[in-house]
Amino acid sequence: MTLFPRAVNETTSRELRKTFRSPSEIFYPLIFFVLVLTMFPFSIPPVPGLFNSIASGILWTAALLAISLSLETLFKADYSSGALEVIHLSGANLVLVAIGKSLGHWIISGLPIALLAFPIGWALDLNFLTLWVLVITLMLGSATMSLTGSSISALTVGLRGGGFLLVMLSLPFFVPLLIFGSSAATNASLGIVPEAELYFLGGMFVLSLTVAPWATAHAIKIRLG
């Protein structure tokens, strides 16, 4: 993968190698995603077809929750071990490190969740267009969440109640993604190709790719300061 700058490659592979060393940790976001999904049938009235009609919204909400809760582990270990300080002081380009971290986090949480949504959606007999729209919007949306989330995770790393603070601070950022993600899927189930929603999610991804790494680098300097 030499298309990314070396620092991004190295950080991502470090992130993945670190997580694969403790194998159970790889599946935490995925397990949480399925867990949240199974809660819904217990809570909504057993009207036939109701669960299927709101399935795309539930899938998106479960993905959002799974990703925002897995954001905390992004910088936690590096901050407490002092590795973040060493990386910063050895003159590494924090913006590229931030992109590497977000990419690593996305490969562990956003990507598998988006891919898993395909079989789950199929099992809930969503039509073909909806399945594809779901996978694409979840991929784009989760990438944006990993990027924006890494800035907030860097800002709240090591704080008392950091986990709660992280979710509370990042939800307002994820709501627009949830709105357009689920509306894209619902429109697709009506047979409408949701161009508007896909454009929006693409725009949000590019925006977060431009702003978030700079903000993460700044957040790290603030937290280490």
Binding site: R14, R17, I87, S90, G91, N93, G225
Partner: protein
Amino acid sequence: MSKPILEVTNISLSRAQKLVVRDLSFSVSGGEILRLSGSNGSGKTTILRALAGLILPDNGKVARLEEKLGNITTSSNSVIYIAHRHGLEENLSPLENLNFLSQVCTPPPIRDGVSVLETLGLKTSMHVPTARLSAGQKQRISLARLLMFDAPLWLLDEPFTALDTSSKKQLESMIDAHLDRKGAVVLATHQRFNCKSHVLKHSLPMIP
């Protein structure tokens, strides 16, 4: 005498709104070692973090001069700061940690990870996940950066804790070699250590 590598002019530092250091000034030139001593909480770590550029002093100035060091060409990275924490990723092996650092940092290192770990006597545990190593071994690995990168200024925060006698001697010889090459060292420690060149002393008053 060569220009001072580090010049501190009446800085004052505070930690969580409490004034820790007031109007501190000193300068360290090539070949000099400064020992900061003072009771716990007198701000030794805060000062070292300010010297490393992590914290901005409330007022006053910290000036670090980049300078050619003898025959070794130095790069723009002018400081190595060894903190209490070892700064290693627990799941990865020492070698993976050092290789990552050498890939990511902007001034390229002057020695590769393997040879550095060998000189530090960690040849056998090079590929073992760091979590399984002892505190002393982790401390020795965190010293690896002193050999890997070349920087005129070393900032060492209690480097001798958890080191056995042989590693302590090795660190002392590393410090001597660095001073011979006209490098500068600022050291915060309670333990006695012997060092060839003259040790400047600076004891820090406790601010009520």
